[in-house]
Structures are given as structure tokens and as C-alpha cells.
């Protein structure tokens, strides 16, 4: 009988922010697929390892291509899915780890979609997204009452039009676009309403209030509030 494939969100960095469901799911799988990018050092694995003993499991790193070339990316996803389906055909249950929540800008979703289309049984474990962890760290709500929340990647073409949306903006995954994003925030006079949280819940966590010239790391997230309504109610 074929194994089952689990897309498992492990949360944003703090190992305690993994869910009970993720822990239980990892425990029952014999194969653990771990995304590995040039800079990531298998972060998802190091988060999960603090909550689950994985000594009896086969850890399979899968290298993801971080490219804007869709054809190359699709090819890469197909290859990763093929590797995983081979384990499933052998009857192994397979968990693929995913930082943050799998529904928010994850490569794991593509892989799951391919595996699902190939007729395998799949299941998804939701997790804590990085922006919820950052808000908790700041002890500030993201949105209250009638406020609107906008979440966007730093490289979206629509960033400028989003600046005028009345509500809280979370800009994620800015990477090498961070300086462009910062300039846009300054242009719209929102520098003082901005907080940048870097590597939330990890050892190298840093918090910056306002926009400055500091270099920000790969796991940086920007929260831009338009109002402080919630402080008064």
C-alpha cells in the first residue's frame, strides 16, 4: 500500500511554536523531507528537532531552486515530488517540513499539489505564520476592530498601490528588495509606523523601530501600522 504524504508547518522559528499536530505527524512518519536552500541550513529541521526525536528517521534534504524562472522552478518541483513519490510507493509515510505556515508563500504547496494530482493521499498541517509570531513578540495586535490586514512579498509589483490601503501592512520576504521597500515606506511617510522584526524567535532575532540604514537579514518582516486605534480601546 502507498504511504501518505504530509505537508507539515513547523512555525516561524521558536521551537515551542510548533503545533501538537505537527509533532504527532512527524512522529508517525519514517521519512522526513527537509527543504534546503543556500542560506537556510535546514532551519525547518532544526526547529522540529527540538520537539521531536528524529534519530530513527531518514532525513532527506531537498534542494529548492529560488528562481523567478517559472520553467526551471517547475522542473525542480517535479524532481522533488518524484523523489518523494518513490518513498510513498515503497509504502513509507513522508512528512515534508515547512517553516512558518505552509499556506503562505511556501514551496511545499507546489510539491503537495503535484503529489495530490498523482493520486497519493495527502494531508496538510497548518502552523503559526511568522507575522503572528512577530506581533506576539511585540505584544501588539496586527489588526483590531474594522482594520484590514495586507500581507505581501517585498518583490510584488503591486507594493506601491498597497501602500494606500488603509490598514496594517506586513511585507515579507523582501530579501534583496529590502532597500526598495524601505524607500517606498519613507516616500509614503510611514517610517515612524514601521517595525522590522528579523529572525523572530531565533538566536539572531533583532527588532528595529522605524526605517534606518541597517542591513536586514533574509528572515526579516516589516509591520506597518496606519493607526494605533487598538491602544485606546
Amino acid at each position: 500500500m502507498n504511504g501518505k504524504f504530509y505537508g507539515v508547518s513547523v512555525g516561524p522559528g521558536d521551537p515551542e511554536l510548533i503545533t501538537v499536530k505537527a509533532v504527532n505527524t512527524i512522529k508517525k512518519c519514517s521519512i522526513i523531507i527537509v527543504p534546503q536552500t543556500k542560506n537556510e541550513n535546514m532551519l525547518a529541521l532544526s526547529i522540529a528537532q527540538k520537539s521531536v526525536d528524529m534519530t530513527d528517521k531518514l532525513i532527506v534534504p531537498v534542494r529548492f531552486l529560488m528562481s523567478h524562472d517559472i520553467e526551471k522552478t517547475q522542473e525542480n518541483h517535479k524532481r522533488s515530488a518524484e523523489t518523494i513519490m518513490e518513498y510513498l510507493r515503497q509504502g513509507h509515510d513522508v512528512a515534508m517540513l515547512n517553516i512558518g505556515d505552509i499556506s503562505i508563500y511556501s514551496t511545499c504547496s507546489y510539491i503537495l499539489n503535484i503529489i495530490e494530482k498523482n493520486g497519493f493521499e495527502t494531508e496538510v498541517c497548518a502552523g503559526v505564520p511568522s507575522f503572528c509570531a512577530a506581533a506576539a513578540r511585540l505584544k501588539k495586535p496586527l489588526v483590531s476592530r474594522k482594520e484590514v490586514l495586507v500581507v505581501a512579498p517585498g518583490y510584488t509589483d503591486e507594493l506601491e498601490s498597497l501602500m494606500s490601503v488603509n490598514g496594517t501592512k506586513v511585507i515579507m520576504k523582501s530579501g534583496k528588495h529590502m532597500n526598495r521597500v524601505k524607500k517606498l515606506v519613507e516616500k509614503y511617510g510611514m517610517s515612524d509606523n514601521t517595525i522590522i522584526v528579523e529572525s523572530c524567535g531565533l538566536e539572531n532575532e533583532r527588532i528595529h523601530y522605524g526605517i534606518d540604514e541597517t542591513e536586514n537579514g533574509y528572515f526579516s518582516l516589516m509591520i506597518i501600522k496606519t493607526s494605533e486605534e487598538n491602544d485606546n480601546a
Copy 2:
């Protein structure tokens, strides 16, 4: 010595979607504050109880006013905070439970803010928001690549202007505004791109594809996708 106050997110409904941090935090508190509204039946408590033994804890239900009268609401929050601070002054550690994630439209944030301003030590545990759980249930990403995510309450005045934002819209907490929201979705021709997830992860969970005349419950969440880009990559 004063006790410490913890705002604890317990996730959207599935008891396994509570974090390890929430479980550990509840374990170390002697007083558990549980929001109770007319319809809620202390849902946050019943979620947490399946993961944590609470027999030795004092469970304190706090009734929240669900009103658009800001003055009355503030008065209600102050009173709830006062009750909690009395336990803190007695040296008890207090956990206040919160459905979903505390940073997204929670009353608990206001209470925490008042307690913080009164000089007590506080900490926030992030959790899985309902929209991440709904996406996991549907095995569909909310956003991929350059897509933008908009989260809004059904009663926001800006709902119509948000319909034209190019990206995934999550409309939460529609309640008695649900019919107005549905009409707006139809007006913008997005009925076929809409999925309504009711009481995700609970016994009465229901999923509706497209907009119809069905009555939807209080814990209904609408996901409106503008593209299916992510299916192709």
C-alpha cells in the same frame, strides 16, 4: 511578588492545532481566564482542555461585550482587566485563552494592553489563525509567489474597495453581515472563486464551494482567490 499575565492563542478549533508553547504556558499558570460570549460556550477552553489537564486550575469565565459602542466596550475591558490584575497582585500566574491567533481581531489584545500599562509582566503566545487552518483543510495555498493576501472583517467599511485588490481575500467574522458580503462577491463576479469554510476543525465543520443561499454560522470564513497561478507551478 506579582504574577505574570500570558495571552495564549489556542488555535482555530482542532485541539491538535494548539502550539507546544500554549500547552506549556497553560500548565504553569494556576488561573485560566476564558472568554465567554453568548454563542461561544467557552470554545477556547474546550479546545485547550483536550491538550492540557486543567483539573487543578481555577477557570474564570469572563464575559465580553460584543458591541460597536466603543465607550461601553472600553468599560467592559477595564473591568475584565481589573479582575485579572487582582489575581496577579495575589501572585498568581494567569493565562487568558484566545481562539485562533491573538494578534488577529482579538479582545484579549485590549486586555493585555491595559494590564501591560498597569506595570505587570506580560507575554504573548502566537497561534494558528483560522485562515491558515482553512487553507490546510482545503489543501490549497492562500498565497504563492507575488500574490497579495488581504484579511478583513465582514463589517469593515472598506470591503468594496478591497474587492479590486489583486490577490487572495479572506473575509472573517462576517456574522450578520454575511449576506451583504455574499452580494458584494457576486457583484464582482467572484462567486466561483469563493470557498466558505465554517467552523474549521470543529465537529460542525462545513465547506461550501461558491456562493449560495445557505445560512452560515458565526465561525465562517470566506476565501476568495483571484488566480489559480499556484496550481501550475
